[in-house]
């Protein structure tokens, strides 16, 4: 379902934008206003991060947002309610991004049922490699949700194919080594990496880590289906306030 939605959107736009928020940061009301601004600005998909106390794949900006959201009282149940609220109200696909312990403690099957009931379309779980994902994959399939997996520049081509066998919806391509929020230099090696990704999967590619301005999005146009704006929109929120989000997103393409 997610893949079809992406394909349909691609017939109208030559690159899609996916943004990322940490649910409950800085507050639930503000999160709602951010989603609203992003949808108004034409964002095509959104990742909603359920905060976790140990977000090992995230850099300082998103790490801080996770901690602040938890300190402000964000719970998994409230995040689910938030997901339900926004997916009912806005007509774009919403995905959940979180770490595996959140699913594990909630009950993986129950988590998938809840996502589905809330109208969410898939999940990204960066610390769950396919080798550990049997229960998760079965639960996602049973609820018609897309389990989204990640490629990285040092993922070997055979492994990319193995990941493609279990992935649905889209493949999230990490642009470089490192955590979220650092600069990325899009070099010649990057072209080789993308062609390896393309050769390994027929799913749409979403490129993230370090995409932060119109220049980056322009560079990706024609190369991937989706540009992921993660950390940068949180920076804009922190530095310039919610009012600046809409203009920032509109200026990206």
């Amino acid at each position: 379902m997610l893949e079809e939605t992406i394909r349909a959107k691609m017939s109208q736009k030559d690159i899609l934008l996916m943004t990322h928020i940490v649910i409950g940061y800085p507050s639930f009301d503000d999160s709602l206003r951010v989603v609203e601004s992003m949808v108004e600005a034409g964002v095509d998909l959104m990742e909603l991060q359920i905060p976790f106390s140990e977000p090992i794949a995230d850099g300082p900006v998103i790490l801080h947002a996770n901690q602040q959201a938890l300190a402000a009282g964000s719970t998994v149940e409230r995040c689910m309610e938030f997901g339900e609220q926004v997916s009912k109200r806005f007509d774009i696909p919403f995905l959940v991004m979180t770490y595996y312990n959140i699913l594990f403690k909630y009950g993986v099957g129950r988590f998938a049922e809840r996502l589905s009931a809330a109208g969410l379309q898939g999940a990204i779980v960066p610390d769950l490699p396919p080798e550990e994902a049997e229960t998760y994959l079965a639960a996602m399939k049973a609820n018609s949700l897309a389990p989204i997996f990640i490629y990285s520049p040092n993922t070997r081509s055979e492994r990319m194919k193995l990941i493609d066998e279990v992935a649905e919806g889209l493949i999230y391509c990490v642009a470089r080594k490192g955590v979220t929020g650092a600069d990325t230099s899009f070099s010649a090696e990057f072209g080789d990496y993308l062609s390896r990704c393309r050769a390994a999967t027929k799913l749409p590619l979403a490129l993230g880590f370090g995409v932060k301005n119109a220049e980056d999005v322009e560079f990706l146009r024609g190369q991937v289906e989706i540009a992921v704006i993660g950390t940068q929109s949180i920076r804009v929120l922190e530095d310039e306030g919610i009012g600046a989000i809409k203009g920032f997103i509109e200026g990206l393409r």
Partner: protein, 408 residues
């Protein structure tokens, strides 16, 4: 699928895709070292000439008389170079780093012992070194920070989360996902994703191999009970591994902090407060809330102040092969004071947890029974914490005078 390091339902390798290739490389290096007898020979030779191995077994004659029960023996890991068992793992991983051809090493540290050992190894092997340490631990283990910096390491205080060991581990992972091409992460304990629990247990098994042989030579039999403190569990796995095949009772002692009922502790297996979870790359018992968020832990001993525990120990606990107990901060300081006065030994606050439990059990046993305690480290590093716990007025005066000199 290849061996993913499961011990019963515990363990695994829950790692971001970006690190998969790095873990494949490490697993290969570990497995080939394990299959190569010259690696272990080189490791033993290095430990013999650099770190006083084999470390002796000391008969604690005065403590034995004091408690009037079982005979108490102590395995002296405190006599290692850098003052704790941590150096066993670190020097072993140092040899692996040389085999893998990397030029930089990073590590997390709680008490600072693993950090000092890693910085020492980096100095000896000519590696760049960065140590991540929770801000809380930097404050309570300043002497170790001082030495790490003198040894050439960059010590980075970690200022988020609970600012202790788990946060230092997260931060080391964040460094590693960026710099894995040049850098090895020398994880200091038997936790984390496979192959770390297996690999660190293997390197620490040098303790148990020696201890078993030494006890047989010394007493003509094996000890009845072996005690070790458990933070992540590396010294415990080290000494226990020598006795897995024997009828020897193994007791792991966790940090009881201000008491199990207070909630301010780090007892994962000895309390009912922990539950199964997946964090820091592995599945085990964690002190976490119902949502799966990690809770704050407390211990007077920084090295035991950790939310998770070795997946291998969780498995041994579930199987009933290792018994888990806890010791409170107060009991620990009392046991330390008694050991210093009776034997002239200064166990680390971490190690003193094991002494507490042995002291509780010794009086109930007969003089035919033998107890072996792993003194995993020496307590010199704890001088600030211990002096405060004792409320030593002369020490306090000394610190005031010293501060005056700097102010002058």
């Amino acid at each position: 699928m290849n061996d993913r390091g499961y011990y019963g339902q515990f363990g695994g390798a829950y790692i971001p895709e970006i690190l998969v290739a790095t873990f494949d490389e490490l697993t290969l290096a570990y497995e080939s070292a394990k299959a190569d007898p010259t690696f272990w020979q080189e490791f033993e030779e290095l430990m013999r000439t650099y770190s006083c191995r084999p470390t002796p077994i000391t008969f604690a004659e005065n403590l034995t008389r004091h408690f009037g029960g079982a005979q108490i023996y102590i395995k002296r890991e405190d006599l290692n170079h850098t003052g704790a068992h941590k150096v066993n793992n670190v020097m072993g991983q140092g040899l692996l780093i040389k085999r893998m051809g990397k030029s930089r090493v990073i590590a997390e540290t709680g008490a600072g012992q693993h950090g000092v050992a890693t910085a020492t190894m980096a100095a000896k092997f000519g590696l760049e070194c960065t140590i991540y340490m929770g801000e809380v631990d930097v404050a309570r283990q300043r002497p170790n920070v001082f030495w790490m910096e003198r040894l050439g390491a960059d010590v980075v205080p970690v200022t988020h989360g609970s600012r202790t060991l788990k946060d230092a581990i997260n931060e080391a992972f964040r460094d590693w996902v960026t710099n894995m091409d040049t850098t090895h992460y020398a994880l200091g304990t038997v936790c984390g994703p496979h192959p770390f629990p297996a690999m660190v247990s293997w390197l620490q098994s040098i303790i148990g191999k020696e201890a078993r042989a030494q006890m047989l030579e010394r007493t003509n039999r094996l000890p009845h009970r072996v005690y070790a403190c458990v933070g992540g569990g590396s010294n415990a796995m080290g000494i226990f591994s020598g006795f897995f095949e024997d009828e020897v009772e193994l007791i792991g002692v966790e940090a009881g902090g201000r008491g199990i009922d207070s909630g301010a502790h780090a007892a994962r297996l000895a309390s009912k407060d922990a539950s199964l979870g997946v964090a820091q790359g592995y599945k085990t018992f964690f002190l976490q809330d119902d949502d799966g968020q990690m809770r704050h832990t407390h211990s007077v001993a920084a090295g035991l102040d950790y939310v998770g525990v070795s997946p291998i120990l969780s498995h041994l606990h579930e199987q009933g092969r290792v018994r888990f107990e806890s010791a409170t901060d107060r009991e620990v300081v009392d046991a330390l004071a008694l050991t210093v006065r009776k034997e002239g030994l200064i166990p680390a606050l971490e190690s003193s947890h094991a002494f507490v439990q042995a002291f509780k059990e010794a009086p109930e046993l007969s003089s035919d029974d033998i107890l072996l305690i792993n003194q995993s480290g020496r307590g010199d590093k704890d001088i600030f914490t211990v002096a405060d716990a004792f409320g030593d007025p002369k020490w306090e005066q000394f610190i005031r005078d010293k501060a005056e000199q700097y102010n002058a």
